[in-house]
Symmetry: C2
Subunit: 190 residues, 2 copies
């Protein structure tokens, strides 16, 4: 007698972004947890808000309107204590204009900062967000070659910047928020 | 014989903003041109974009959805040449976080900057925007008491900051964009 085993089938899950590299990083992480992530390339309007979570939720809704499938978006930012959280939700714009050199001019004694990542999931019925952060400090000089603020962010208990650390992707805010999402998603849909 | 003269009647025109002071300033200017501006208090989402015009257009559409009457919104920002236009469309957020002291730390030799104002009109059929700018430089210190970046912006051909000038409201970017709007509006609807 032949027994047919039907494994529970997860529905398609899309990662919405204009940036394929961001998708590749997320895919690699979710693969570890057995989740097959697909790419939905699109440009989403980003609202101006002091809350990363609000921005990500709004983008997940827009993405769903376009792809009509369960969808994830990710947003991140660096928040500097002595600058009232600047550049926070505007990290990307600030990087493109004043850059890391500008940030180093603005930060003096209190160098505490955190990197925050939000994953927002939406499938028309369920809206869930997952936030993770990594605490650290802003370095005094630009150290290492890496994207964005990685060369000026030293995570707690380290002496090196994100750009200098080989295991950055195993400890990053993005890794942690994707891991939180995975636990929830696998429990919910399997 | 009694002759009844019917004057052309402009329809209601609303100024949408969360800030009554911004409305009062606009009302005072439009009164000069014979346009009666009403206040529509509301909170509008602001999209993240490098274009003030896009932000203002999007806000005018949102405002119209809410008030269902011809509506104006105004957006402004200061653009600093040596900082690739920073803080530009994010002037308000940047002011609340790093403030004028932060800006002074970032600007060195080339101090050229411009203040830009956009007025966006929408009445479901017509979408028109009016842009004006005032060129100038960033002062080396904070001078005068005034709102926002006024104490660090010296308009061309002046030695004083906007905050120190008594006639600021007669030469400002906002005055000029509202004047442009008025000319168009009166020609169009009268």
């Amino acid at each position: 007698m032949k027994v047919e085993v039907v494994m529970p089938q997860l529905s398609d899950l899309f990662f919405a972004s204009s940036n394929i590299n961001k998708y590749k990083e997320a895919k690699k992480i979710l693969d570890e947890f057995g989740i097959n992530l697909k790419f939905f390339k699109c440009d989403l309007l980003e609202i101006q808000s002091n809350s990363l979570k609000e921005i990500a939720k709004n983008k997940a809704e827009q993405a769903f309107q376009q792809c009509k499938k369960p969808v994830l978006v990710e947003d991140d930012g660096i928040f500097i204590d002595s600058l009232k959280g600047f550049p926070g939700p505007y990290s990307s714009y600030v990087f493109k204009t004043i850059g890391n050199k500008g940030i180093l001019k603005l930060v003096n004694q209190n160098r505490r900062a955190k990197f925050v990542s939000i994953i927002s999931f939406y499938d028309k019925k369920i809206h869930e967000s997952f936030e993770s952060k990594v605490n650290g400090i802003i370095s005094k000089t630009v150290n290492g070659i890496g994207w964005g603020y990685d060369p000026i962010f030293i995570p707690s208990k380290s002496k090196r910047t994100f750009a200098q650390l080989k295991n950055k992707n195993e400890i990053s805010h993005r890794y942690k928020s994707l891991k939180k999402f995975s636990s929830w998603y696998l429990r919910k849909f399997e």
